[in-house]
């Protein structure tokens, strides 16, 4: 990032900080969520029911069409060649053999690629979606080991793959920064998140730490991780005669991607249409990377449609992952276990071409009521593929460090680790000073502990044995913030036959969004679920809605509320003076049984069909945008969980296995108990992988990933995953749409620490370096 960009970010930060003070002090009623969503009170509708995925039958019968399955006439298939140096230039690239190989349509390199603008990097502006802002195949420069240097299009995938293997590339390597220690010696930089520095100070934490009677000072390290959604990143696209670009993609940011592709190709935003009806997992990775841009560029060159599906290795070369971290946590406490200081500082790795630094202090900002804080993230820049967000960026690895340290402190003090956490329960957000919108983590702790049988835990490490296995229990707090990004919008179309259609550029990546939001829409409109059509995954639909940061539920919710309120206003106008609803204001009206009613007098009621018929209308359609998400500057809004693990460590070999897990969550109201349970469990399984096995082998000598495959990059297999129990408070957050906070990421938080703490309880061995492999326990 340039100095100019840094200054711009800092200025934005100051404006935001000033605005934040004003919003914090504003009356509740001025703030979105100040008046609770009326749906919170409705307890007998579709919301909360364990409705099976509406698209489940399509998926299991193979009828759901994914991005790489759309048939197009005259298709070409793409394969890529990746650089083998981390920095330098291409001196020679021999494509003649590939060009004459059977079936080859075109070979594209920097020498013949269409001229393109660098794509705006994600978060650099509101609609940007690219993994980084580097030019894409525009010159001979190499920026990372694995960068695409050639694209082959052929009549079949096999022909393309073969031709790509015939391309020979010569390089002149330059000295690259790919070594953590060397980069650290050259100096570190302050990291930022959403424009604000990742640095917080409350009181004099250093002094409080020095004076405290009990303290923990430990360094925790987490490795690099790569994305492995089961669906490979694939795209099918073509240019139309009018110069527009049609893209079938696997996406969690359709509108952002359409905009960014348009900017890159120098065409109007409306000329790019991106759709993504089904996605086989995203986790932060299904955004815009070089492969879609290169596929579109090659399609332009060949004047043919292109299908590009990254190989599993290709995903490691082209799609960024989670950066490694080194985190020092210092905790200071009184004899009674009251925290007097939390210091959480450390280092991560970034590239100079994007704005994403792993923000591992985020959870620490609001979890415990310490008297003083010193939190900081610095980074070094590497010559590597742009790192990116991966499920709970910051919190997933940050809670490993903080919650391991809390366990160490509990042991040092001789206090039960759950009790220690409860003793440090804050009354208000310790750093922002804001009141919590809804915080019931103590209830989650107590109900979870009872269900898990925590009282059976022997606090003395290494004392419980079952045959050849050492058995231990551990716990940790999970937490993830409520976010709502600006830019939401929704369109509702109501027809005289009693059906409603909702249109939003939102996403279904397998988590159940389309099902849960259909349930919400049914309750909000007073219609049966069968009468609702929920359209999503299309950049031409309203809204700039990101399926990320666990914020899509809130973003859709607030957008639909805005559209609904507008719809009610329009319907009241149409209803006129002859309606039982005459004279009512929008806020006095709700929906039931296919019509509107007065909230206080449900018998004052008229059906939508009747209103539309009297007005001689077949349909009514409204579109609206929600207010800016000021609620997060007025309340401290977070989800919580109490995580419990039981592990077994083999006394001979040190093999660690998780034998039981329970997550007790406080995430506001749960919209669909079936899909929610699956999401919680999925997050916990990913957290189990983070704890015990996930690690990218990044060879620092060359800046190259050496285990780009599912056989060598370990994620949990079925046999690694025990029975996972999940439960939740179901207490609505009065300031969130539907009373619900997103649940996509919280499952992975706290899980790593709960397992590490259980390993300590089982063995007496404190592993502070993930993953916890058996060699660290021998």
């Amino acid at each position: 990032m340039s100095i100019f960009d840094d200054a711009k970010q800092a200025a934005q930060g100051l404006v935001q900080a000033g605005m934040a003070k004003a919003v914090a002090l504003a009356p509740d009623s001025w703030v979105p969520g100040g008046k609770p969503d009326p749906l919170i009170r409705q307890r007998h509708g579709a919301i909360g029911k364990p409705v099976s995925r509406l698209d489940g039958a399509l998926k299991v019968s193979g009828k759901a069409t994914f991005a790489a399955e759309f048939p197009v006439e005259a298709m070409t298939y793409a394969a890529m060649v990746y650089s083998t140096i981390a920095k330098g230039r291409i001196t020679q690239i021999t494509v003649s053999e590939a060009e004459t190989a059977p079936g080859v349509v075109v070979v594209m390199t920097h020498r013949n690629a269409p001229r393109l603008n660098p794509p705006p990097a994600f978060l650099s502006e509101s609609k940007a979606a690219a993994g980084d802002s580097l030019p894409v195949m525009q010159d001979e420069r190499i920026y990372w080991n694995g960068q695409p240097v050639a694209v082959v299009l052929a009549e079949t995938q096999e022909q393309a793959d073969h031709a790509a293997s015939l391309i020979r590339v010569g390089y002149e390597a330059e000295e690259a920064q790919t070594t953590f220690e060397a980069a650290r010696e050259q100096g570190t930089q302050q990291s930022r998140f959403m424009g604000q520095p990742l640095h917080d100070e409350v009181g004099d934490a250093q002094d409080a730490f020095a004076k405290a009677p009990h303290k923990i000072d430990a360094t925790y390290t987490t490795p690099r991780h790569n994305h492995n959604p089961i669906e490979l990143h694939g795209v099918t696209l073509y240019w139309r005669g009018d110069g527009s670009l049609r893209v079938h993609d696997a996406q969690q940011v359709v509108a952002h991607t359409a905009y960014t592709l348009a900017r890159t190709f120098g065409i109007d935003e409306k000329q790019v249409v991106v759709t993504s009806p089904y996605v086989g997992g995203g986790f932060g990775s299904k955004t815009l990377w070089q492969h879609q841009i290169l596929a579109a560029a090659a399609a332009r060159l060949a004047k043919r449609p292109v299908r590009m599906v990254l190989s599993r290795e290709g995903v490691y070369r082209v799609v960024g992952g989670r950066s490694p971290t080194e985190q020092r946590v210092q905790l200071a406490a009184t004899d009674e276990g009251r925290l007097t200081a939390i210091l959480h500082r450390g280092l991560t790795v970034r590239t100079a071409h994007n704005v994403i630094a792993e923000p591992f202090i985020l959870a620490t900002r609001s979890l415990y009521g310490a008297e003083t804080f010193l939190l900081d993230v610095h980074h070094v820049d590497f010559d590597m593929l742009g790192n990116t967000f991966m499920r709970a960026p910051g919190e997933a690895v940050g809670t490993f460090a903080l919650e391991s340290a809390m366990d160490e402190l509990a042991h040092e003090l001789g206090i039960d680790p759950i009790e220690l956490r409860i003793r440090n329960e804050p009354e208000k957000d310790p750093i922002s000073g804001l009141p919590y919108s809804s915080r019931n983590v103590v209830e989650a702790w107590r109900s979870g502990a009872e269900r898990f049988g925590w009282e059976r835990r022997n606090p003395v490490p290494g004392t419980v044995r079952d045959g050849g296995w050492l058995v231990g229990m551990g716990c940790a707090t999970a937490t993830y913030p409520y976010h709502r990004m600006p830019g939401g919008a929704a369109r509702i179309t109501l027809s005289a036959d009693g059906r409603a259609t909702l249109d939003l550029a939102a996403h279904e990546m397998g988590m159940g969004t389309s099902t849960a939001q259909t349930q919400v829409a049914a309750d909000r409109l007073g219609l049966p679920m069968e009468a609702i059509t929920f359209n999503y995954g299309d950049s031409t639909l309203p809204g700039l809605i990101m399926a990320g940061g666990s914020q899509q539920t809130a973003s859709i919710g607030a957008s639909v509320i805005a559209a609904y309120n507008k719809l009610v206003g329009e319907l009241l106008k149409l209803a006129g003076n002859d309606s039982p609803l005459a004279g009512l204001k929008t806020e006095e009206v709700g929906s039931r049984d296919g019509g509107l009613c007065a909230l206080d007098e449900p018998d004052r009621f008229e059906t939508y069909a009747s209103i539309l018929a009297r007005a001689q209308r077949d349909t009514i359609s409204v579109e609206a945008e929600p207010p800016m998400p000021l609620e997060t500057m007025h309340w401290s809004m977070h989800s919580y969980g109490a995580m419990f693990a039981e592990v077994r460590v083999n006394a001979v070999t040190g093999e660690p296995r998780v034998s039981r897990f329970l997550g007790s969550f406080d995430c506001g109201r749960i919209l669909n108990s079936k899909t929610a349970a699956s999401q919680f469990r999925g997050g916990i399984i990913m957290g189990l992988g983070l704890a015990l096995m996930e690690e990218t082998q990044f060879d620092e000598r060359k800046g190259r990933v050496l285990n780009p495959s599912l056989s060598e990059y370990h994620v949990p297999v079925h046999m690694d995953v025990p029975e996972i129990e999940v439960m939740w408070t179901d207490i609505p957050d009065p300031h969130a749409p539907m009373g619900a906070r997103g649940i996509g990421e919280i499952g992975i938080t706290g899980t790593g620490a709960a397992i590490a703490n259980a390993v300590y309880n089982a063995t007496g061995r404190r592993v502070r370096d993930l993953p916890i492999t058996l060699d660290k326990l021998l």
Binding site: N145, S165, V652, Q697, D699, R701, L706, L774, D775
Partner: protein
């Protein structure tokens, strides 16, 4: 994948004839070879499918088993006589790969599996003496946590990935080979090579040689044998260390013993030193630990795989104690 010709051998003689030409590879289940072809590490001009040949398991006159090279791993693992007479073999096989892969993979192909060293697989970006003799080895100073601690060389520290072969090594298996000069047999323990300065040469097979069968001699005390695989996840991972063992105890003394190790060397590692130390020794943890230490005394670990020495020792002791019915 480089385009190739596919033919099917009608019998062993036909296969040997076809296999003598340059660029020809025999195809069994294809579970490793086809992967390597996709990665363009293997680029055969012709594949001769031998998966339909010799698919029987028959009892030999001596009371052992002769297993056809085309027998699928699942079929062998499930075979009644294997399960009762050589249980370590069944356990080794079912701990390898996944059910789907085992349904395809053949016994002959399993013997010819190639290493999963990351640098061997990284054809474009890394040096490997196994792929290009004399090029250099990037693993020695790179990621080598899973690599060899026994019998490695300055040229190669890769390990043989098979579980099945570890059990075969312990069971005194013999490999039957059909070649241009006729039929011959090679003991399994001599079938694979140590890397030396030619890690690209992995077995004693000559061009055109076809594995036709693996023979297990009778070994009554193997009826109580076992296989223990230690790995980073519960399934679908290669062994960090594995131990195949059988022990015969009489009057508290070790009468006979077989021990082989996986995940530690360029070949399935028969622990002959440990076996020699144990024959005639009192069956107990002390002797087991002494024998394990004797075997591992020759280990030459690197920075990141030193743990394997201790892991191998502990696993050997644990497995022997279990078989001997004594507590560790």
């Amino acid at each position: 994948m480089t385009p190739f010709k596919y033919t099917r051998a009608s019998d062993a003689a036909d296969a040997v004839r076809k296999g003598a030409a340059t660029g020809v590879k025999f195809l069994g289940g294809g579970t490793n070879l086809v992967d390597l072809m996709r990665e363009t590490i293997e680029r055969p001009g012709e594949l001769v499918d031998v998966s339909g040949l010799s698919t029987e398991i028959v009892e030999t006159d001596e009371g052992g088993l002769r297993i056809g090279a085309g027998v699928r791993n699942t079929a062998l693992a499930e075979h009644r006589r294997v399960r009762t007479a050589y249980p370590m073999l069944t356990r080794a096989m079912v701990s390898g790969a996944s059910a789907q892969i085992r349904n395809m993979a053949t016994v002959g192909g399993n013997l010819l599996q190639r290493t999963r060293c990351s640098y061997f697989y990284d054809e474009d970006g890394s040096r490997c003496n196994k792929r290009v003799p004399g090029e250099g080895c990037d693993a020695i100073e790179g990621f080598h946590r899973g690599h060899a601690i026994l019998g490695a060389s300055d040229a190669c520290i890769a390990v043989h990935p098979s579980d099945m072969c570890v059990a075969l090594a312990a069971l005194d298996a013999v490999v039957h080979i059909e070649g241009a000069k006729g039929a011959r047999t090679v003991p399994l323990v001599d079938f694979h090579c140590l890397p030396g300065d030619r890690p690209d040469i992995e077995t004693v097979l000559e061009p055109g040689d076809l594995i036709t069968a693996v023979e297990l001699p009778p070994m009554p005390f193997a009826a109580a044998s076992t296989y223990r695989k230690v790995r980073d996840r519960a399934s679908y991972a290669f062994a960090l260390v594995s131990v195949a063992a059988a022990i015969e105890i009489e009057d508290g003394q070790v009468r006979d013993v077989r021990i082989a190790l996986g995940g530690v060397a360029h070949k399935p590692w028969r622990a002959t030193r440990a076996e020699a130390a144990l024959r005639g020794a009192p069956a107990g943890e002390t002797a087991f630990a002494g024998a394990a230490a004797t075997e591992l005394a020759g280990a030459r670990p690197l920075a990141d795989n030193a743990f394997k020495v201790r892991l191998a020792e502990r696993t050997i002791v644990s497995v022997l104690c279990e078989l001997a019915g004594v507590t560790a």
